[in-house]
Amino acid sequence: MTLYGKGLRALTLASIVTITVALVLVFFYAPLDADQGFVQKIFYLHVPLAIISLCGFVLGGLLAIGHLRTGDRIWDMRSYVAIHMALIFGIAGLISGSIWAKASWGHWWVWNEPTLVSFLIVLLLFATYQPLRFSIEDPERQARYASVFAITAGAFVPLNFIAVRLAQQFVHPRVLTLGGGNLPGSMRLTFFVSLIGIALLYATLWKYEMTAKNARMQTRRLRRRLMGEDAVRPLGRSAAPS
């Protein structure tokens, strides 16, 4: 039996320390951006959230491959939690980006900005993941269909990202590029510490949810063994193997 709670305390501490350091760097170390001024501080939150969210969707697809290869539903649960967490981070990224857009462009949302719209498309695509999976009652079929969806949609994420990057008209500020980015050293350090902090938070919350789901699953198994099948309530909306 895998114990997901192992190392959770260390991971939580690492997340708290890194995020605290990142916040100190954002507000007391990184200089004000010459063009955008103080409002640019939102980027140290918004960009890492968007990046980690997209990585989470891809991770969900990779973990789903594990499920289709092994048939072990624990991989499906891992994939489900990865996508669930990525959705939460994605929504936070979308809201923080919208706040930045209002401050910088004077509009909460613009439809002719490719990066924004493509991110929304990815988010909406993954927003259909949960309704799709929970519309299937048979747990085995549910897990299989969800895995196929996670792999296909996960593969769509980098393709979508590349397509937007290859587009000619760039309006969205490029914080990080493959050539090392256009940030000065202090801003780059702050950005990477923020990115690591958000990545650690993602890992911590993923582990936290996996621990909770695993504990629930073990409790249900114990109840079934002790009191019989009838004593266990229907699982409802859960990806945890019963």
Partner: protein, 72 residues
């Protein structure tokens, strides 16, 4: 269509509410998530307590039966 242009920097006083709002929204989302998870953990804890009670009840019934068999 909205034409976007590089806007001049907002003064820190005017930009601060937006920056605070972005960070507060993020914090709120994380806290809501943690609260939902805490609720689920409490529910699991209750289920475990029920199971523990059930095991203890069964054990005491078994002990009573064993005592009766020994006496009989």
């Amino acid at each position: 269509m909205i034409t976007l242009a590089t806007s001049p920097a907002l003064a820190p006083g005017k930009a601060a509410p937006y920056v605070i709002a972005a960070y507060v929204v993020f914090l709120a989302i994380v806290l809501i998530y943690v609260a939902i998870m805490a609720k689920r953990l409490r529910s699991n804890e209750r289920d475990l307590a029920d199971l523990k009670r059930e095991v203890e009840q069964r054990r005491s019934v078994e002990e009573e039966q064993r005592d009766r068999e020994t006496v009989g």
